[in-house]
Symmetry: C2
């Protein structure tokens, strides 16, 4: 006999790992049970502190996540890890050094690691990741860490839902890289320059400082990754006074991790004391709501339109008989 | 007495530049006239060949666009240029060398340059750019070139609506960069390694070739930039057999531009002969339709909901009394 969602939720909240894994699978696969899971768990969310860790391949960010996890574990906190990067050792792409470090945390009962399969669903992956963060939050993890590779829409979208986003850099990447990643730099709350025993670390720190001074921290929250196609003019600019700290780390030797954890804690304190936390949360929820409303209404509409009708409209668009806006008006008749 | 949209459209199609500029402004500012403009011009679209040129700052892509434009002009074609990159010399951020080259084309009647103000509206900017491309197409330009900086969601979104996307690289960027830009590499149809007189050009070409061999060209068209938040499962995979050519150019000396233009022409021929062109166009129009349907329905819904109701729902979400999916159900009652 299979367990009900309610039972699974209870067991997961009591610390049963296989139940937790089942709940996550329901949500990942977008089953009806998934909606029930989120409905049941939502009241229990809001406890965990979420940290996004993003950085290019080769910066050692997975190792840094392991080190940070170890640090929090030593302080008695529990940690959930979500790896979205397909090249991450958490998702099977490990190099030897990383695997060694991961072993230290993977047998630990206070750590839960889940990798997310990137199915090419852009907005979808971001939302699913957000929902999995919620599940981990609701079952009681103190920290939920999401690891993403620092490129592309997904990463930006996912990083933006975390409370604190840590950008991982490494020496030896030139100024050009920094320019390319300006978009990522903008979402970083804390920067870790990892592999700080490598030559060029001072240059990297200097280049990052220069770019931070150039940049501004005013953010239009309405344009957070989850709702990129939406354009309802409701953008609110949050004037963010946080000064992004740059922390040098050597994750393989567990060096600088205390300072990194402290920088994250400072950002957390800043968000809470300034009231930015609440403001951001409200705006994220608003965005999510708009996104879900759009998706649901489109799904409902498409159920009323048979594929022949849609094909005909597309044919007319392709042959230039019908412009997109008129096509919209025509299809909205099926509401 | 102000001119009617119909009159402006007629004048723009007859070659009157100030009318064209007015039409574009209507669309950019999302005025009711803008919708009329697109309605009137849509039947005349489909003539222009659209080329996206994307690359990091410092690769000399604006200079390359100027050189390419000069090349096409010498062959008797007209060229419309849309600059989305805020640091582009086309939008005022010129360095001396670029301005010199631009002078060669900016006085030319067969060239029309328009810069798009990035207002931080992610999906919005992509769609507006697409609409401006349509206007330039409909008034008769043979080529419409969109220049974007190769980072971020906008760029990917805009590049994906172009028939051919040219990625501009330059020597001296290490392997790390290539990894970061893997997402951009995926959308490139032609790669120009500009500044090919610089040391390291062979390494750059080799690194790019290696990355191209790693990558695959199967694309899920449904995830094209304009509709990132949508997830209707209608993704269609197009198996793209095009082999991305790498062309070495020195735009400042007008070297390699013939070869670049030829590579673009080959890609165009490939798209047309393989039938991919039609397939891509249909899918792009489908995506645009879904995106517009979502936006319109959300706008309609929000008009029925007063701000107090929305605020109450958000308050309940923030206080964990109402989960997102239940909030959606509640608000959909206002349809």
């Amino acid at each position: 006999m299979s367990m009900s969602v309610t039972e699974l939720v209870e067991k997961a909240r009591a610390g049963h790992r296989r139940s937790l894994a089942r709940l996550i699978s329901y949500v990942e696969n977008q089953t009806p049970e998934g909606a029930e899971v989120l409905h049941l768990l939502y009241p229990h969310t809001g406890h965990a502190y979420t940290v996004g860790v993003t950085g290019a391949p080769g910066t050692g960010k997975s190792c840094l996540v392991s080190s940070l996890t170890l640090h929090w574990r030593q302080q008695g906190y529990t940690v959930g890890i979500i790896a979205v990067d397909p090249s991450s050792p958490f998702t099977g792409g490990a190099v030897l050094g990383d695997r060694f470090r991961m072993r230290e945390i993977s047998g630990d009962d206070g750590v839960f690691i889940r990798s997310m399969a990137s199915r090419g669903q852009l907005g979808g992956l971001a939302r699913t990741t957000f929902d999995v963060m919620r599940i981990m939050d609701a079952v009681g993890f103190d920290f939920v860490v999401v690891e993403t590779v620092g490129a592309g829409q997904n990463e930006v979208a996912i990083a933006k839902v975390a409370n604190t986003t840590v950008l991982v850099e490494a020496p030896g990447l030139g100024d050009d890289i920094q320019a390319i990643k300006a978009g990522i730099l903008e979402i970083a709350d804390v920067i870790a320059v990892n592999k700080a025993d490598r030559p060029g670390v001072k240059n990297t720190v200097r280049a990052l400082k220069a770019m931070l001074e150039l940049g501004h921290r005013k953010r239009v929250i309405s344009h957070h990754g989850m709702i990129m196609s939406q354009d309802d003019g409701a953008g609110t600019i949050v004037d963010d006074m946080w000064m992004v700290p740059i922390v040098e780390t050597i994750a393989t030797e567990h060096k600088g991790i205390d300072a990194l954890a402290e920088a994250i804690a400072s950002h957390r304190a800043y968000l809470e004391e300034s009231g930015t936390q609440l403001q951001l949360e409200r705006m994220r929820l608003r965005e999510e709501l708009m996104d879900r409303l759009q998706t649901t209404m489109l799904k409902d509409l498409l159920q009323n339109i048979d594929s022949k009708t849609l094909d005909d409209v597309l044919d007319q668009m392709v042959s230039r008989q019908l412009d997109p806006e008129s096509a919209v008006m025509q299809l909205l008749e099926y509401r």
